[in-house]
């Protein structure tokens, strides 16, 4: 029986090639999109799950708030780890680690700057249990000069030689002996490390303040017999016992008074597996993804899937007239309705199976353009994905059910008595089909609006005056690898005519985070310490980035006293409640008096997503060397200037690589997420429109065919071509208009929410909405146009001839 079903189905597909092509192509395209998005979502959800006991592993986060400040940190204070181990017996293992910058490692001729070098407690591999290829994870960090390295690093430095016991020299100062080689981490982790060395005697790791100096990423594993809630309650108790006395002392008032003002201080357990998508704190180890992208893409996948299913349903039911006869015959030779339902289901299954196979190929071909994985620098072959098969199976079943049910029941319901007599099936307008078409238009319109709005916001952010000049600035990274040699480089650079200014700095605009420091207005109580973002630089920073001063002055190398002073931005002046702070003093957290030399006008040192935070710019003095060396160039001949700069660098670098970037390129990366989203939305929207158009095309072919006789009669009665075209397009136009009534409020709501994340955003006006409706109208008219015109021009004699 099943063979008979498949046979009919296959011959049906083969005989009606055009119809099959439209149906399968649309479905395959839709499935390909869903497939890619689902693989992407699964990948995003799989983060850090490769660790055994990942579900019992937590990070300790710190949330604090006082006066107008809030701090939410992914790091905690140094002694907290030991405290937790001592006070909470349900904690199986706990470890801390910290990043101190990228050292330059050497082994013989091989010399690289290593970004993924962390210092940690010896218990590190107890919490992060990665498989060791050489060495013993429990003892790898026992010696103070030990370092455990990843397999790819072992290969990089030692090739095929045994890595264990070899020496890596860091920054020409410190030797590390390789004590273990662990397997490379998969890309799906929020924390990539290649080198782990023990803290040894580092002073900061032995600090004793529970509430301040939250510099250490602290991770732990709980016993299975304690829940996160219970653990959180225990942490709350620890806060009261250990952090409270310190905070009372720091702010100079009692805990009761402090909390009455709304201030709080919390230690919170953050599940390891939730970090990648849900954690957006200060001092994250790497920039995390965002659960909102999962939501956005789920919505897109859902929408496109709906489009594909609707296409299928509409095309199948529209073709019902041609299948009706077969239904009648089969019933007359003894088929029950159930058997027909089964037959049409098998047919759907076959079509969907074909579509799924094509979808896999399409997904493979399209994935480079959709850029879903590119953010991870991960080449993806869809076929190699482990989740692919179950996913395909699921898609196959789900879509067969969704797309097949209605047509199967509709087709099998035909009464043989009616269809076999050759009565024309009543060409009643199908309400359901109308509804589905409206739904399709709605999805398309929403997606077009989304694309337009995201694009608009992106341009708004890119075009906005940021308060500094981002052009013509070259930044050399890791300049501190040269140590004091940077000073000579600076001088030689300045001697070149095309170099206008050079500045060392700790951070540059667009860095995801800066350090921070607490200051207060001398007149204010201790509880009103304000958190200011902290940037270190030399006296030329303002010149290189063309910052403008609101009052006072920038640093001056001729005044040695400037080293103790700071320059703040206008936001900081507002936060501190000072109308003209230049020349006045602030009190730092240590109680020192810090002179404010000047106030710079607010500039967007972070993404326009965020409001401009208060900032304090600190002075290093002129011989300072920071990780960044920013060079403002004044020449049309960039390549030549670059070559000159490179020569100077190489003279002083002892083989250290010239790692540079143009500032504007780098700053554009601040909006990488939005920029990618904009591109992806565009791609998916185009695909969605293509799918919807395929459906529309198929539908218009059938509808025009169904109404041929009516058109003939109308023409005989004297209707003009234009009138007939209107008659045929009118229904589609009505559908588009109805769809826009549905789509616009939904899109407005969604876009309002999306824009809500941006401190600086466009106003949502009617423009994109109107444009989206127009685009949909235009595209759908173009799609059905050919059919309509053909029908309207046809000779009525042909259609009215008695059959």
């Amino acid at each position: 029986m099943f063979r008979n079903y498949l046979l009919t189905a296959w011959r049906n597909i083969a005989c009606h090639k055009g119809y099959s092509l439209i149906t399968i192509a649309g479905f395959a395209l839709g499935l390909a999109c869903c497939l890619m998005i689902m693989l992407y979502i699964l990948d995003e959800m799989s983060y850090d799950r490769f660790y055994p006991n990942a579900d019992r592993t937590y990070r300790i986060d710190v949330d604090a708030s006082w006066s107008d400040n809030t701090a939410s940190m992914a790091t905690a204070s140094a002694p907290l780890a030991a405290l937790i181990r001592r006070e909470i017996p349900e904690v199986e293992a706990v470890t801390r680690f910290r990043y101190y910058g990228a050292p330059v490692l050497r082994h013989g001729e091989k010399c690289f700057s290593e970004e993924r070098f962390f210092f940690a407690d010896p218990t590190f591999f107890d919490v992060f249990s990665v498989p060791f290829i050489q060495g013993d994870p429990r003892r790898a960090l026992a010696q103070p000069n030990a370092v455990a390295i990843s397999l790819s690093m072992a290969r990089k430095y030692f090739g095929s030689q045994e890595a264990l016991g070899k020496v890596l020299t860091a920054d020409n100062r410190q030797d590390y002996i390789v004590s273990g080689v662990f397997a490379d981490l998969p890309p799906q982790t929020h924390f990539h490390y290649d080198f782990i060395a023990p803290f040894g005697n580092r002073r900061d790791a032995q600090a004793d303040s529970f509430a301040t100096n939250n510099n250490f990423s602290t991770y732990l594993r709980l016993r299975p017999d304690i829940t996160a809630t219970q653990f959180a309650a225990k942490l709350d108790r620890l806060v009261l016992a250990f952090a409270r006395p310190e905070l009372e002392k720091l702010f100079g008032i009692s805990w009761a008074k402090l909390t009455r003002t709304g201030a709080y201080f919390r230690w919170l357990p953050q599940p390891l597996t939730g970090i990648h998508l849900r954690s957006h704190r200060d001092f994250e180890i790497e920039a995390n993804s965002d659960i909102r992208y999962i939501y956005i893409f789920s919505l897109i996948a859902f929408g496109i899937f709906a489009l594909a299913c609707i296409n299928f349903i509409n095309l199948t039911t529209a073709r019902a007239t041609t299948r009706a006869r077969e239904v009648g015959i089969r019933k007359s030779i003894g088929s029950s309705r159930g058997e027909l339902v089964r037959q049409f289901f098998s047919e759907t299954l076959l079509l969907v199976l074909l579509a799924v196979l094509i979808a896999v190929v399409l997904a493979q071909l399209l994935s480079p353009y959709l850029d879903l994985f590119a953010g991870k620098g991960m080449p993806v072959t869809i076929l190699a994905n482990r989740s692919l098969l179950p996913l395909l199976g699921g898609l196959l079943l789900l879509s067969s059910l969704l797309a097949g049910t209605y047509p199967a029941f509709l087709l099998s319901s035909f009464r043989p008595a009616a269809v076999l007599k050759g009565d024309p099936l009543m060409s009643k307008k199908s309400t359901l089909r109308g509804l589905l078409v409206i739904l399709q238009f709605s999805v398309s319109i929403i997606m077009i609006i989304g694309t337009l709005v995201v694009n608009q916001q992106l341009h708004f952010m890119q075009d906005r005056n940021l308060g500094f000049d981002q052009d013509q600035v070259l930044v050399i990274r890791k300049a501190n690898d040269l140590g004091k040699g940077v000073r000579a480089v600076k001088q030689e650079l300045l001697a070149r005519p095309e170099v206008e200014a050079v500045s060392s700095a700790s951070h540059w605009m667009g860095d995801p985070e800066f350090g921070d420091e607490l200051y207060k207005n001398p007149g204010a109580p201790a509880a009103q310490m304000m958190k200011l973002q902290r940037l270190f630089c030399d006296e030329n920073f303002a010149k290189v980035f063309q910052l403008r001063l609101a009052s006072g002055r920038f640093f001056d190398k001729a005044r040695p006293g400037d080293r103790k002073g700071i320059v703040i931005n206008e936001a900081a002046a507002r936060a501190l409640g000072m109308s003209d702070p230049a020349g006045k003093q602030l009190i730092s957290m240590d109680g020192e008096r810090v002179p404010v030399l000047g106030v710079v006008r607010d500039f967007h040192f972070q993404s326009l997503r965020q409001r401009i935070l208060p900032m304090a710019i600190n002075y290093w003095g002129e011989d300072a060397f920071g990780p960044l060396l920013a060079v403002r160039i004044l020449t049309p001949d960039l390549p030549q200037a670059l070559a000159g700069i490179r020569r100077i660098w190489q003279r002083h670098s002892h083989g250290q690589s010239f790692d540079f970037q143009f500032f504007d390129d780098r700053f554009a990366r601040v909006y990488a997420a939005e920029s990618r989203l904009s591109g992806q939305l565009l791609a998916f929207t185009v695909l969605a429109i293509v799918i919807a158009c395929l459906g529309l095309l198929g539908l218009s072919i059938f509808i025009v065919r169904q109404r041929t006789k009516e058109i003939g009669i109308r023409k005989v009665l004297g209707a003009s071509m234009t009138r007939i075209s209107w008659l045929l397009s009118g229904e589609f136009l009505k559908h588009v208009l109805l769809a826009s009534v549905i789509a616009c409020p939904i899109a407005y709501f969604l876009m309002k929410r999306w824009l809500g994340d941006f401190a600086f955003r466009i106003r949502l006006d009617a423009g994109p909405f109107a444009l989206a409706v127009l685009i949909t109208l235009g595209v759908s008219l173009a799609t059905i146009g050919i059919q309509v015109v053909r029908a309207a021009r046809a000779n009525p004699v042909d259609s009215l001839r008695y059959e």
């Binding site: 008979n4 046979l7 009919t8 007359s332 003894g334 088929s335 029950s336 043989p416 050759g422």
Partner: protein, 244 residues
């Protein structure tokens, strides 16, 4: 074998009931060859479809071999139908996407006949109707007569007690038509009950009994009157439709 009592069929619109059949009483004995005649729109086909359980009467009772069809569920009715009734149509109604062989096999599939039995039944049918050479052809590759031959073979393959034929020769030329009618006569002689709908007096002559329908009424008293009034009407119409 068949007993209809007060069968009435109408289509109800919002305000109007359109009657197709009115109060039909009819008995057909096993082994009988019955012809239903009447002008277009008289309700002949509808009656045939009701007899074939492909349509339901609006009112009235239908007993098939003593079973009350009007009281059966759709499932039971389908079973009764697939065990006992074979259909032959004017326009053959073969499944275009299936070959001759597969067309013959389909009713057996619905009847859930076992594969080897199915094969032998199909082979028998191909033999009997001398269409073995055509078994892998599709309906569109056959002439009308050949298609109707396949259609009859398909109707017979389940060894039905009753064959319902709706103008079986309507689309055939006279020689092909005669062959089909001869076939029916032979089947009838072998004991199969046959009910046919036709416009043709010539075809009606093959049957034991003729009933006439007019505007949904069955009127056996006028049995002789109608063909006399317009003896060639059916034939001419038939020829016309052959031409198209």
């Amino acid at each position: 074998m068949i007993r209809l009592m007060g069968i009435t069929k109408y289509y109800a619109n919002a305000f109007i009931k359109t009657f197709v059949l009115r109060n039909i009483d009819l008995s057909v004995k096993e082994g009988e060859f019955l012809t239903i005649m009447g002008p277009s729109g008289a309700g002949k086909s509808t009656l045939l479809y009701i007899l074939g359980m492909l349509d339901e009467a609006s009112e009235g009772e239908y007993f098939f071999c003593g079973q009350a069809v009007h009281g059966l569920s759709e499932k039971k009715r389908t079973q009764l139908h697939q065990q006992n009734i074979g259909f032959v149509f004017q326009s053959y109604h073969l499944i275009d996407e299936l070959t001759v062989c597969e067309n013959l096999e389909t009713p057996l599939l619905y009847k859930k006949v076992k594969p080897d039995e199915r094969k032998s039944l199909v082979a028998d049918a191909l033999d009997r109707f001398r269409i073995v050479a055509k078994k892998d052809l599709f309906p569109s590759q056959l002439s009308g007569g050949q298609q109707q031959l396949v259609a009859v073979a398909r109707a017979l393959i389940i060894q039905p007690k009753l064959i319902l034929a709706d103008e079986p020769t309507g689309n055939l030329n006279s020689q092909q038509g005669e062959e089909i009618m001869e076939l029916f006569r032979k089947l009838n002689a072998e004991g199969t009950t046959i009910i046919q709908v036709t416009h043709s007096e010539k075809n009606a002559a093959y049957s034991d009994r003729v009933i006439h329908l007019l505007d949904g009424w069955m009127n056996n008293k006028e049995e002789a009157a109608i063909p006399v009034k317009n003896p060639e009407a059916g034939k001419r119409k038939k020829n016309h439709s052959e031409g198209t």
